[in-house]
Point group: C2
Chain length 209, copies 2
DNA sequence: GCTGAAATTATACACTTGAATAATTGCTGC
DNA sequence: GCAGCAATTATTCAAGTGTATAATTTCAGC
């Protein structure tokens, strides 16, 4: 008469979130192949069968996890904007600094990003999410660049600003990746200095370091 | 008396290479989880057991495949250098163009890169390979930048050049990623134009578009 | 306190995975 | 040609996978 495991009934919302978080943890730690139903359930403190109760299939769970991840990243980025100064140039500098320093720079986030990047070329839903996220971030950067150029009295036609936003976005992405994946390669604050100086040259602006 | 499958004895070298190529194809098409011994053997036109004959374990095969991939990328990049003009400024422009246009820009290569990126944070061997490859590429870019600046009569102290190489490398990486993963977002030649103009501003050089 | 519905666990199953071993075949050197 | 070695195939196995279903437990409403 080995007693059955005791449990508590969590609300649907909480359980779904717990399973999604467990999934993200598994992927971050061991890649997608480590996110088995058993590993996820174990990490969520739950039995594998429960996954079936909240998600029709494991694929559904993974898709939900991906959507949650992207939403969180977008929201975190938006929230950080509130703490930036109002002056357009200082605001841009703060935005750049945020993008290339912790907590945005983070090996775990990088691993999750790489995992989803891998799916984008062959999964239409993933591609749509990626495209929307990419364009949202780039558009935000583009507006900040336009405002900073305007505030500094520099010319800023839309075509050039667009091109600068694409390049600036790529620059931030590349620095974010290397800082996340090879943290020991760069000294404290080095990334920030590099990013600020690169943007200053790119935009021909004086950005405070 | 169902006949046994007929086969030919390939040289060790050729068979190992065929298995490695099959592995890379599998990963590119369906991610690491699609690279099962059976799928790899099928694509290589061989029986699963043969993998054991050439590689002690599947992990060994995957590691060899990764090493081969990185070596090829490095060699392809080096080979392309030979076709570039001798003039340092034009040479840099050509290098930049190569990095953001096909065949370097390629969804398959991007998928493989993302797959290995995912392993870097938790696999020391992968990290070493990544670090060496990254530094080799960056150093090459740094030398080309220094030469171009010198040819144009611009100042080029080592610290600044180093920072510019890091930023330039990140810029190329970011553009390469987006061009590979969202090819429809950018018009023919747009990436090249964006990259060249960004580098021209970054280095304060006149680069021919 | 009961009761009933829903959440959760337990168990089972069919299938895929990587690996190990035995049986056969192609090919090289004579 | 033929002998023998090594490359290759065929077969097997134990472990792990996702999923389906039945058995139980929790807990809200009365």
């Amino acid at each position: 008469m080995t007693a059955r495991r005791t449990f508590i009934r969590a609300g649907e919302e909480a359980r779904r979130l717990a399973l999604i978080d467990a999934t993200l943890d598994c992927i971050a730690e061991g890649g997608p192949q480590a996110a088995t139903v058993r590993a996820i359930a174990l990490k969520a403190g739950v039995t594998p069968g429960l996954i079936k109760h909240y998600f029709d299939t494991k694929e559904d769970l993974v898709a939900s996890a991906h959507e949650t991840l992207m939403t969180r990243m977008t929201e975190a980025s938006a929230a950080a904007l509130d703490d930036l100064p109002a002056d357009p140039v200082a605001r841009l500098a703060g935005f750049i600094t945020n993008a290339v320093t912790p907590p945005v720079v983070d090996p775990r986030a990088m691993a999750l990003w790489a995992a989803s990047m891998q799916l984008v070329p062959r999964d239409a839903a993933m591609r749509d999410v990626h495209e929307a996220t990419y364009l949202a971030f780039r558009d935000r950067l583009e507006r900040m660049i336009a405002n900073a150029l305007a505030a500094a009295g520099k010319p800023h036609d839309t075509a050039t600003t667009r091109a600068l936003a694409i390049a600036g976005n790529a620059l931030l992405d590349g620095l974010w990746i290397e800082a996340s994946v090879l943290p020991d390669q760069f000294a404290q604050g080095e990334m920030r200095s590099i990013a600020i100086r690169a943007f200053a040259r790119l935009l021909d602006l004086k950005l405070s370091e």
